[in-house]
Symmetry: C2
Subunit: 361 residues, 2 copies
């Protein structure tokens, strides 16, 4: 027992104790199938000493030298705190964590970026502590994603991402499919005029996916109303009027907040949901008041997405071809340059805000 902070053993220490060279220790450690062989006897001796002295590879040295740390980073583009974001992000985290534990990886949460939220500033750097990273965020900096992709750093985006140039790997919820199903369900119930509404710009990928699902559902003899895009909550009342005028009997609301607002518009007019208007919520609960209404709509499978993203990333990392990032085999551009993506099926909430249109009931 030494005084002071115990200096932990290095490969050199282990080597000395086992009567071999540092290189041998390294080779034993990373059981390569490669050219160099170590006799079982030596291997065992080294392993014994390592165990005895509690050797652990230094993560920094290892990643500097191009090795692996069995650590997956998690980076969010928006600050997770203050707590508004927590409810949103936590399920993802949960899924990632479970899967990581199963696969023998630890999770590195990149939170220190503070207000800045830029990977390439002080962050890029820090990402390398992890073997790869999961990226998360509703409104990421696309340029940064591209830059990261070009840098060769392995990552998977949680959420649907299409960027300019080569594709990136991502795991997305099947918003399009789920929205389509929900829309078709409305038609089945007898609705003829169904509208789609959102607050905020529809440029984000999740928005576009939902809208696409909506449009695809349009069957021959039914009518989907136009897609309304509002700027602020204040405009909901006007929207409600227009919907009535257009004879719309069912609305798909991208945000729960919007749905809540529609509900109170209806209430103010003495109208009932779902009797006078069916309302479907498409999963985005940003800024929702959570007034206790049981909404009919889709459930974003956040936990599953996290899980699948983790699994995908690890698969990427452990794929033989995709060597250590440092070893830069530039020509390794597999088909599609190795980017993979997966789709996770959304769940549905039965809820109480959808019913047949009035003329049918």
């Amino acid at each position: 027992m030494q005084r002071g902070p115990a200096k932990r053993p290095t490969q050199a220490d282990i080597a000395r104790l086992a009567g071999v060279s540092q290189a041998t220790v390294s080779l034993v450690l990373n059981e390569r199938d490669a050219g160099v062989r170590i006799s079982p006897a030596t291997r065992e001796r080294v392993l014994t000493v390592m165990r005895e002295w509690g050797y652990v590879a230094n993560a920094s040295a290892r990643s500097l030298a191009g090795g692996r740390n069995k650590i997956i980073g998690v980076y969010t583009f928006e600050p997770v705190f203050p707590t508004s974001g927590v409810d949103f992000y936590f399920p993802f985290l949960l899924g990632m964590e479970q899967e990581a534990a199963d696969l023998g990886y630890d999770l590195l949460l990149f939170t220190s970026a503070g207000g800045e939220r830029q990977i390439f500033r002080d962050g890029s750097t820090r990402l390398w502590h992890a073997d790869g990273a999961l990226l998360l965020g509703r409104d990421p900096n696309v340029e940064e994603i591209e830059q990261l992709r070009d840098s060769g750093y392995p990552f998977v985006y949680v959420g649907h991402r299409e960027v300019a140039g080569p594709p990136v790997s991502y795991v997305a919820a099947d918003y399009a499919g789920a929205t389509r199903q929900l829309t078709e369900r409305l038609f089945q119930l007898g609705h003829h005029r169904v509208a789609y509404a959102r607050i905020g710009n529809g440029g984000a990928q999740p928005s576009r996916d939902r809208e696409r699902g909506f449009r695809r559902a349009t069957p021959s003899r039914h009518l989907t109303g136009p897609v309304w895009t509002l700027d602020t909550v204040a405009e909901v009342d006007g929207l409600f009027e227009e919907l009535q005028r257009a004879g719309v009997t069912a609305v798909l609301a991208e945000q729960q907040l919007l749905a809540e607002e529609l509900l109170s518009c209806a209430a103010r007019r003495g109208l009932s949901v779902p009797d006078d208007l069916s309302v479907v919520v498409l999963g985005d609960s940003t800024g929702a008041r959570h007034d206790g209404t049981h909404w009919t709509g889709l459930i974003v499978p956040r936990e599953q997405m996290g899980q699948r993203a983790m699994a995908l990333l690890v698969r990427l990392l452990e794929a033989p071809g995709t060597g250590a990032p440092g070893s830069g085999a530039p020509g390794s551009g597999a088909p599609g340059s190795g980017a993979l993506s997966e789709s996770v099926t959304c769940g549905f909430a039965a809820g109480v805000t959808v019913g047949p249109p009035k003329e049918f009931s």
Copy 2:
């Protein structure tokens, strides 16, 4: 634009471009107040080139050279999953995360240990990926904590920990104080016979602290009943009988589960809480049914504890004396060998399960 992963500039590159040495670049970067000086002109030139080329220090190399990662590990003795544990641990995590973000540290979650949950097996090991760690768990392996302390690894325990030998650093909730206050409040309300009950052994530190607070509250002319320690929930009914027989009008229940059981015992006998019996919950909600009762009692300030623990650990790490683990200043044994501890005040829940004793109302 090269093919393959774009290699980002190194200090050597910047140095070349600025016509100085790599050392100079490093010196400019880490604005040391130390011996070496750089002229403002040179400094400016280097900075310009750095900005121009978007230089970012490689974190791995930096920590390899400097010994620090700016990463704090989080290790829990019990598995956090399946989700029963999640509710318990998440608030701690939240607090840690916020503080870490403020202090510029990232969080490394040690979850990969899987079922084993032993620091010194594969974990100890992995702990070194972080500069220091926060340890968490209701029923930790004390020997391992001692071993870790002796190893010189910097850590802070979240929760009250007294171990054999030199003390360890910890941040604890002030259970003793809070329990004392709650007990005294009962006396103020007119209760004369107050009892304390728990399920499970009272050996754990949090249990002992609460009991201590209870005992300290005993004022001259009042009576605290004995402390009951039950083995299982099944014994609660018997306990209830005994309490009645002893004329106890108020109980402090260590676990919410126990309180819930007492409540149903009372209900079965047609008795009312708090009219016939006041019940205080001392914060432990393990296995509780959460039946919606608004309990009177203490609130464990989990988030704050996490926050304070993080702050404490970082303080330990950044204290000048306690140098980098590698730099081993052996004589730095400050008073008490540098272990610090802090106490966080508990909150109180007003609740509806406490009132004056019957003869007063």
